[in-house]
């Protein structure tokens, strides 16, 4: 399984797509970070004239929260591009049969590919380490919020990767897998935008509801259960889909 994960991770870096995704991700997060810091610094500077106008302005709510909020959208766009090729490429290139006949179980294949993709996501997030480092250089941020923010991005990305991997197992066309995954992820993200009731159905289903507390540095068991159930179900569905190739 780990061998498959390593192979998957290496294959991402051996293609232009992996590097393009990494460069694009770092560029966009970098731009958002610089703009965010600039806006915050401007607001603080404005407070010299009236300190009470900016009372309560803090790095957690006014810098890190918007930044990680923007990052969730970037992750939402990037991860379908990673997951689209996980099985679609194998189906299109007729290498899936080879993989299925190799001496590894379907479960190991699914988990290996998933871990490989999550590994790449972790590398993406790790490459943004300069952001918290620079923040510690210029201010005193709350480490809990930083940990929560990165955990939120990792869980959100993993959930979308699991879903995207499942869809990619249903089609040999990577564009179809990308489109369906992104549409579903976006729908699950925005579905709760106009809903306030925390007990409402859409808030329970929506993925954005379950990342917002994490970004704020609050880890709720409900959120962890949501992502575990979400990822678990799609991994199982992918497993079932691959199994179906065996008896066809």
């Amino acid at each position: 399984m780990l061998w498959i994960a390593r192979r998957e991770l290496a294959s991402i870096f051996s293609t232009a797509l992996g590097w393009l995704v990494l460069t694009g991700f770092l560029l966009i997060t970098g731009v958002f970070w610089v703009f965010g810091v600039d806006d915050y610094a401007m607001a603080v500077a404005g407070g010299v004239y009236n300190p009470y106008d900016i009372a309560g302005l803090n790095i957690t709510n006014n810098l890190l929260l918007p930044f990680f909020g923007n990052c969730t959208v970037i992750v939402l766009m990037v991860t379908p591009a990673l997951s689209m090729r996980l099985f679609s490429e194998e189906i299109k290139g007729h290498t899936l049969e080879l993989l299925l006949t190799s001496p590894v179980s379907t479960g190991q294949i699914v988990l290996g590919k998933f871990l490989g993709a999550v590994g790449f996501l972790a590398v993406l997030l790790l490459c943004t380490a300069h952001i918290p480092i620079s923040l510690y250089w210029i201010a005193e941020p709350d480490p809990g919020v930083l940990v929560g923010g990165y955990l939120a991005l990792l869980l959100l990305g993993s959930a979308v990767l699991a879903m995207g991997m499942c869809f990619s197992a249903y089609t040999g066309n990577q564009v179809v897998a990308l489109t369906v995954t992104f549409s579903m992820a976006l729908a699950l993200y925005v579905i709760s935008f106009s809903e306030t009731d925390p007990e409402s159905f859409v808030n329970k289903v929506s993925v954005s509801t379950h990342v917002i507390d994490l970004i704020r540095g609050a880890v709720r068991t409900t959120d962890l259960a949501y992502f575990t159930a979400f990822i678990g179900f799609f991994l199982f569905a992918t497993h079932q889909r691959l199994e179906s190739f065996r008896w066809r």
Partner: protein, 542 residues
């Protein structure tokens, strides 16, 4: 029968349509009662009919190998989905806990709130009226989740007033509101949906404690019900009433000061007090009561002002100006902004985040007396003076006439020994209607009780409708009452000030370079190297 079997698929389709309709209506209405249930039953009936009419064809299909294997897989996936949903629902319903990663414990309820929640002996219904998607509602939903996690006695009902106008009308909702109900008691929160305010309401909804504030009338005092004029105190009194204070008007000349008054307010008297009224006020404070005296510089109350001397407070007949620009409100000459070292340490003033803005103030002084414990609350900068000649258009300190330097604007005096107040007693025996009886409004059974306090502020407008929202005036006003009635937990907290960034121009440029150029550039460079190497390797192999 053959015809029915041929068109049986239509029943299946109609059943699906009926179920989609049922789900849609249930989602929109927010309930399964009525049409959604009817549609659901209809849909199920149509599916049963479909199976009944097309049983043979369905049986043929189900007997194929492909169907057996694929349907088994679909069934397994459905079961997996069900397990995932149930597992999530169980955690959400029974095991929902929050682990706070933040250093400032931003997602942890204060110990006071936790103890209040643990002390709930009966359920409290929290009705949250917020329009869908409102920012206030979202913030409140995060807060109330912590409350529901901490106590099963907090029962939350979320109501969109736009979707349920009848319910909103019944509960008299005019904007975002949180209504707390326990039995017949009810508390409402309409602004500042913070933990402090919510917990305060939670305490109040369980408490029968009501503080009685008496508001002096009969000398042209500020109107406690006046909410239409800038100088009325209607807005301030409304806030007080929202915090379980009952404010009643009292005419001292007619009835004296009722014994159940916890705080007696003299707000901006315009006409002088009779000696008997002044004795009644002194007796009230000497008897352990708390009085709040807000004075107006322009008022003609020489007797009342002079009588404050028995508390060690001297009131000067002047209007205070401050030459320190930072202590005045720009464009409003004579309006003082008291802040920093002008606000002296005291439970009432220490938590204030902003300036206390006094529109027109007169200066005070304090004398040290045995039996009295005096403390300064507010004062000007060292560049202030008390202008005595208001007819002179050139406002500047007149040496020898005006008091100059750091002037007192607010004081608090605690009576340790009531005898130092020399309170007159009611005359005994037959009273001559023509003779003055200074002690006639003092209760016959009056007994001195140490601990009475009097707060004197040299401005009577800071709590008016016009000035209440200026600076920290509202907090100062409310803190005075909270302190006087022993409700220390209601004294406002100092909000966090802005967290700065230590970012120079060079630092800003470096940050930009690293984030936008160096790091993405390094990734791009590595990409080029990898791809070039791969290309060279491929060429070599060829």
């Amino acid at each position: 029968m053959a015809v029915m079997a041929r068109f049986a698929w239509a029943f299946g389709l109609a059943g699906a349509v009926a179920w989609i309709g049922a789900l849609s209506v249930a989602y929109v209405v927010g309930s399964w009662s009525g049409p959604p249930t009817t549609l659901g039953v209809l849909g199920t009936a149509l599916w049963v009919a479909w199976v009944a009419f097309d049983a043979r064809s369905l049986a043929d299909t189900m007997s194929t190998r492909h169907f057996r294997l694929s349907s088994g897989s679909v069934a397994l996936q459905a079961v997996a989905l069900l397990v995932a949903i149930v597992a999530y629902a169980v955690v959400d319903d029974r095991l929902d806990r929050t682990f706070d990663l933040t250093g400032k414990r931003a997602h942890t309820l204060s110990t006071q709130t936790v103890s209040v929640l643990q002390g709930l002996d009966a359920p409290v219904d929290v009705l949250a009226f917020f329009p869908e998607g409102s920012a206030e509602g979202l913030a409140f939903s995060r807060l109330i989740t912590l409350y529901t996690q901490a106590s099963a006695n907090v029962r939350l009902e979320w109501i969109d007033p736009l979707a349920h106008p009848v319910r909103a009308r019944t509960e008299r909702i005019s904007g975002p509101t949180v209504v707390l109900k326990q039995g017949d008691r009810e508390e409402r929160l309409e602004i500042d949906f913070t933990e402090t305010n919510l917990t305060r309401r939670l305490v109040l909804v369980q408490s029968d404690t009501e503080h009685h504030v008496c508001w002096s009338t009969g000398h042209g005092e500020a109107d406690p019900d006046g909410d239409a004029t800038p100088d009325g105190y209607g807005a301030a009194v409304l806030v007080l009433e929202g915090l379980n204070y009952r404010v009643s008007r009292v005419s001292v000349a007619g009835e004296g000061i009722p014994g159940d008054c916890e705080v007696f307010v003299v707000a901006r008297p315009q006409h002088d007090w009779m000696p008997s009224e002044r004795e009644a006020l002194a007796a009230f404070v000497g008897g352990g009561g708390d009085a709040l005296v807000l004075l107006d510089p322009i008022a003609e109350t020489p007797g009342f002002d002079a009588d404050l001397d028995r508390f060690g407070v001297t009131v000067f007949d002047d209007v205070v100006f401050d030459a320190d620009r930072s202590r005045t409100v720009a464009g409003m000459e004579g309006t003082l902004a008291v802040h920093d070292d002008g606000v002296l340490a005291h439970p009432v003033t220490s938590p204030l985040a902003g300036a206390v803005v006094l529109p027109v103030a007169r200066s005070l002084d304090l004398a040290v007396r045995d039996g009295l414990l005096a403390k300064e609350l507010l004062r000007t900068s060292t560049q202030a003076w008390g202008e005595t000649d208001l007819t002179d258009p050139d406002v500047k300190p007149d040496p020898g006439l005006d008091r100059t330097g750091q002037l007192l604007l607010g004081v608090v005096v605690e009576v340790v020994d009531p005898d130092v107040l020399s309170i007159a007693r009611p005359a005994e025996g037959p009273v001559d209607p023509g003779a003055p009886d200074a002690g006639r409004l003092v209760p016959p059974d009056w007994k001195g009780v140490p601990g009475g306090r009097i707060v004197v502020v040299g401005d009577g407008d800071f709590g008016s409708n016009q000035a209440l929202a200026w600076g920290s005036n509202q907090d100062f006003f409310l803190n005075l009452f909270a302190w006087a009635t022993g409700e220390e937990e209601q004294i406002g907290d100092r909000p966090d000030l802005a967290e700065p960034l230590d970012l120079s121009e060079v630092g800003s440029a470096m940050l930009c370079l690293v984030s936008v150029v160096f790091v993405p550039g390094a990734a791009m460079l590595l990409a080029l190297v990898t791809l070039l190497r791969r290309g060279l390797l491929a060429k070599g192999e060829a």
